[in-house]
């Protein structure tokens, strides 16, 4: 399954403005404006000026918070997103409730106290972000993350991601029983995504001790897909340009074309955009046009 672009121009727009460049611009912008985030519960809030706001949206970090304030746009970032900006891109400073900037160890300890399995999730998140994939929360699908080839407004997500840790004391407790595995594969199939497992292997001990431990582990990627013997012939072809692996079914029985008006497709747009069900396709088109790039 390759990337499913939304609209005819999307792929060209993505090629014209690579995600790596947008992220680099965001990095410069945040450093230049000395933006700082505020740790609040399991989120980080930051107020962005016009330049950074645009780049945060285009690079897909955080969710905008709707407020009446005009000169600043507030964003809510997940722990993974904010730590990525802080630790990997070194472009964000983070303050705590005492308004004092925290150093790396303090931030790490705070995050671990809220989310003990954070090191594994962060390793998985940063592994894909470093490869310029757009990674968002997968909570709508009951998975840990979803990964997009580019901005979600222009492309559907290809992968639904579960994070597993090595060994019997798996921190996430997923895919230990058949009912969970089958449920996940079925769900992914019905929303046209591939289930991707990121297995985090630690070379020594539990990862939580310090951020330095992140360097000592590696990530293995696995897809889990259902195989249907009734469909008889299946060949895998690898697209040499993108490296994307596409399943081509030769004898496929119900090769129905799905149209925009199809209920399933509408549900999917709604899910991807976190919007209400029964999205109007014309409305969708208008929204795509309005998003300025």
């Amino acid at each position: 399954m390759g990337p499913r672009w939304k609209g005819k121009d999307s792929e060209a727009r993505a090629l014209a403005e690579p995600m790596s460049e947008i992220v680099q611009q965001l990095q410069s912008c945040l450093i230049h404006s000395k933006t700082r985030g505020l740790l609040l519960g399991c989120s980080v809030l930051l107020g962005a000026g016009a330049d950074c706001m645009d780049l945060l949206i285009r690079a897909c970090f955080g969710q905008p918070i709707i407020t009446a304030e005009k000169d600043k746009q507030w964003f809510e970032l997940s722990l993974e997103e904010s730590f990525y900006l802080f630790h990997s891109l070194r472009c964000l400073e983070i303050a705590g409730e005492d308004k004092r900037l925290k150093n790396e160890d303090e931030i790490w300890q705070y995050i671990i106290s809220k989310k003990p399995a954070f090191p594994y999730f962060y390793k998985a998140y940063s592994h894909l972000r470093d490869k310029n994939w757009v990674v968002r929360s997968g909570f709508q699908y009951g998975v840990d993350f979803v990964a997009y080839h580019y901005h979600p407004a222009l492309v559907h997500s290809e992968y639904a991601i579960l994070v597993l840790s090595e060994g019997s004391d798996d921190v996430n407790g997923r895919l230990n029983v058949w009912s969970d595995l089958k449920c996940m594969v079925r769900l992914c199939g019905s929303v046209v995504k591939t289930l991707l497992v990121l297995r985090i292997n630690r070379s020594d001990g539990y990862l939580a001790v310090s951020p330095l431990c992140l360097e000592k582990c590696n990530v293995e990627e696995y897809t889990i897909t259902r195989w249907n013997p009734e469909q008889c012939r299946e060949e895998k072809t690898i697209n040499k340009r993108t490296g994307v692996c596409r399943m081509v079914s030769r004898a496929c029985n119900n090769n129905a074309k799905m149209r925009v008006g199809d209920v399933k497709y509408q549900e999917e747009i709604a899910q991807d955009n976190g919007q209400r069900h029964n999205a109007d396709p014309e409305e969708e088109k208008e929204k795509l046009e309005k998003l300025k790039f």
């Binding site: 399954m1 230990n176 195989w227 799905m258």
Partner: protein
């Protein structure tokens, strides 16, 4: 805007197909008259059950099923218990005991239950599912495993070939894939690695059995590309 070939993602459409099929199954089996009828074979071979070998020795070949089933030992064709039972269910073989008395399905099911012939019930259900669809399925053989002589019990259950009317037992090509019938839990990473080692580069698939239903999965190591 049209989304073409969403259905070419086999996982997507097969799940949608399964949904309606399963609903229909529940409805159909409300009356005994609606149990699906199997196509019975008209040409019935004959075979003797050999308890010592745990296999059926074929004494009369009829029809075409025997071409892609069984193994040849010292010039004689033998069926494993799963092959025997499959053929017996569709009347492609008439089974006889040592004393020439007929062995009925009940006797063959009991042989599977005894567990002495190398195949348990779940493994048989997987065998039957693929064989009914025309796949060529053989037990995993150690003949090709000269490199990996390991004591561990963990090994694939079957070697599977895609349906092929030119298949010849005497000169098969490499199997299309190996198949492991999972037990209680999804396979662990170590189990997957150990099984793959025994496959010598041939792809491995996994199957899981709920009573009467068989499903298949692939677990593939991948590496997502670095994007621009």
């Amino acid at each position: 805007m049209e989304i073409e070939d969403l259905a070419s993602s086999s996982d997507g459409m097969s799940d949608l197909e399964v949904t309606s099929k399963e609903l229909n199954d529940e409805e159909l089996q409300y009356t005994s008259g609606s149990i699906p009828k199997l196509q019975f074979k008209k040409d019935t071979s004959k075979a003797h059950w050999n308890a010592e070998m745990g296999m059926a020795g074929v004494i009369e070949k009829k029809g075409k099923m025997w071409i892609t089933t069984g193994i040849v030992r010292r010039g004689k064709l033998y069926y494993t218990i799963e092959e025997t039972l499959f053929l017996a269910e569709i009347l492609a073989v008439h089974m006889l005991d040592v004393d020439d008395t007929t062995l009925f399905l009940k006797d063959l099911y009991e042989k599977v239950a005894e567990g002495k012939s190398g195949c348990c019930w779940e493994t048989f259900e997987v065998y039957r599912h693929l064989k009914s669809l025309g796949y060529i399925v053989g037990r995993f053989s150690f003949i090709n495993q000269l490199k990996t002589l390991q004591i561990s019990d963990l090994r694939p259950d079957f070697e599977v070939y895609l349906p092929n009317n030119k298949f010849r037992k005497s000169s098969p090509s490499d199997p299309s894939f190996m198949l492991y019938v999972t037990r209680a839990h999804p396979p662990s990473r170590n189990e997957i690695e150990e099984l793959e080692r025994k496959c010598n580069g041939i792809p491995l698939k996994f199957s899981h059995v709920d009573p009467g239903r068989v499903s298949f999965f692939s677990i593939n190591r991948v590496e997502l590309p670095i994007l621009p």
